[in-house]
């Protein structure tokens, strides 16, 4: 059962993507750690964290592609699942600081001492354990997606209306997390992390390991997504995307179909957020900003939705572009991004990967098989 799922998942494209990611997970840290700084192939430290961050964005875009590209659910709130995963990781990292904080409280994070809190709120319990945080990283975004999807899909909210309420969801969380009373560090969020699993978070080796973890997480998620879309369930997803009502008349429970992918996708987004936070060193409510979720849609569209590879390519390219662009002309980035989105929508509706694979399949043109159509046969 599981083996045949994995077997189907590993088509040629998936094998390539996974091989490249595993290769990167091994090679990049080697080039960073084993080569001296002056060596032409040396990967500098700053680049490792930057690329690691891109990979977490790629994972987020991949998660979005599963729901948007294959099931037609245009979520404009995936940044919320990413941020929740990030906060779960941030809470673990905060509790690892222990008595090394500015106020030296062995249990309470600095911001709680600053707010004169006497004891740890109940929802911070357990986050001193990595295994607990790891569960929460997938459970919290998954649970939110489940509750949200349960109501939205059951009431048959679709299209633009669904997109709008996903925006509202992430905006509501933005406002909530800004409040100090919520107990997540308010405006400033969670930061000043010291170590992760006992290793100093700033150490070169830790950074390299986080990069590898991001690449491997992306590879694993790709395998899962590929398995899902290549299964019969994946065909049901596309059927729901293209003709939702028709699939109901064939006996498919559309709301369950949507709920399942939405929850899986939210969990992946949560993992992405959890890997992002230790690499950038901070999580704050800004991550819930509605604009962030919209950016993910742009990465996915640019790379090519409904391709799984596309969103990875799109996320890396657009963010690499952003890094270069914002260094040169910081005020113009949003305009450039908007222009890119418009250009892709107009000229590359299937995105970069969609256009490339269109070229690839067109080239080896086999002679069209001679088909006697039904009308011809019936007339005989």
């Amino acid at each position: 059962m599981i083996t045949s799922f994995v077997f189907k998942a590993l088509d040629r494209r998936a094998i390539w993507v996974i091989a490249v990611l595993v290769g990167l997970a091994v090679l990049v840290p080697l080039l960073n750690l084993a080569l001296p700084a002056g060596h032409p192939l040396h990967v500098p430290n700053y680049a490792i964290s930057l690329m690691g961050k891109y990979l977490t964005y790629a994972l987020l875009a991949l998660a979005l592609d599963l729901v948007w590209g294959y099931c037609g659910i245009l979520s404009l709130g995936h940044g919320a699942f990413f941020a929740l995963g990030g906060y779960a990781m941030g809470m673990y990292l905060m509790r690892q600081i222990g008595a090394r904080g500015v106020y030296g409280d062995p249990v309470l994070p600095d911001f709680m001492v600053f707010l004169n809190w006497q004891e740890l709120p109940w929802f911070w319990y357990g986050f001193d354990q990595f295994w607990f945080a790891a569960i929460m990283i997938v459970l919290v975004p998954g649970a939110l997606a489940f509750v949200f999807g349960w109501f939205a899909f059951r009431s048959r909210v679709t299209g633009v209306y669904l997109s709008i309420i996903t925006q509202a969801m992430t905006y509501a969380l933005l406002l909530a997390f800004f409040r100090n009373e919520m107990g997540f560090g308010g405006n400033n969020g969670l930061t000043d992390f010291k170590d992760i699993l006992g290793y100093a978070i700033q150490a070169d080796t830790t950074r390299a390991a986080l990069f590898s973890a991001s690449a491997l997480a992306l590879a694993a998620a790709f395998l899962i997504c590929s398995g899902i879309v290549r299964s019969k369930f994946g065909k049901v997803l596309v059927a729901v995307r293209d003709a939702e009502s028709r699939s109901r008349f064939f006996g498919y429970r559309v709301e369950n179909v949507k709920l399942f992918v939405f929850v899986v996708s939210a969990m992946m987004a949560g993992v992405a957020g959890a890997l992002y936070v230790p690499q950038v060193g901070i999580i704050n409510p800004g991550e819930f900003a509605p604009a962030n979720s919209i950016e993910v849609v742009i990465w996915t569209a640019v790379g090519g939705r409904g391709t799984l590879v596309g969103p990875i390519v799109g996320a890396v390219l657009v963010n690499a572009g952003k890094s270069v662009f914002t260094a040169a002309f910081p005020e113009f980035w949003l305009f450039a991004l908007g222009a890119l989105f418009v250009a892709v929508t107009l000229f590359l509706p299937k995105g970069i990967v969609g256009a490339l694979s269109g070229l690839a399949t067109r080239r080896p043109r086999r002679p069209a098989p001679v088909i006697r159509d039904a009308a011809g046969e019936a007339a005989e």
């Binding site: 059962m1 599981i2 045949s4 799922f5 899902i228 299964s231 019969k232 369930f233 065909k235 049901v236 596309v238 059927a239 293209d242 003709a243 009502s245 028709r246 699939s247 109901r248 008349f249 064939f250 006996g251 498919y252 429970r253 559309v254 369950n256 179909v257 399942f260 098989p369 088909i371 006697r372 159509d373 039904a374 009308a375 046969e377 019936a378 007339a379």
Partner: protein, 250 residues
Amino acid sequence: MTKTAKGSLLYLDGVSVAFDGFKAINNLSLVLEPGEMRAIIGPNGAGKTTMMDIVTGKTRPDTGDVIFDGEVDLTRHDETDIAALGIGRKFQKPTVFESHTVEDNLELALDRRRGVFATLFYDQTQKDREAIDRILETTRLTARRHERAANLSHGQKQWLEIGMLLAQNPKLLLVDEPVAGMTDAETEETARLLREIAQNHSVVVVEHDMGFVRELDVKVTVLAEGSVLAEGSLDHVSNDSKVIENYLGR
């Protein structure tokens, strides 16, 4: 109510539905026996499609009973449930999954477990393959099995949808205008196909094409303005004065 419904496959009694005050279905009653094939004719806007919408759970009637299999109250179920109970439907405008291949369309329609995990871990068995092959033969789509459904001709899409109904293997098939837009040869072929299907399924066919209805050679119900105008053999109803006035004579 269920007393009279006993023994019937589909039982509609006193069904009415209004859209913004306009009565699309008006006190409609109709009984279909198990194994029966029925043709429904009537002018445009008579409510034929709306009747199918009611039976398949797309539209809820304002009043009246809709009973399936002598006991199941269909007004309490949604589209998915009703499909699972064994009612399949072909739409007036052929509706297939365009971006899937012909073969995948049939696989999706095939009468197998439809849950999330059942489909996630589904493996096509030899039996499933054979069933799909057989339907491809019956609907003459074997040569196009790997073609995307979007690339089929209009007539082929109609046939694919009928093939999907065969795969779904429901107890009752509701077929809305299966020969609209078909050539004469295709129409004849479709009549053959439907008669074949009727051998082991109950079928309701809505159609305007009188030649086609004659070819089916089954009991006919004439609908007009949301209710039954006449019922009986085609010859019987086509000699009915009300039918001539309301429909045939126009």
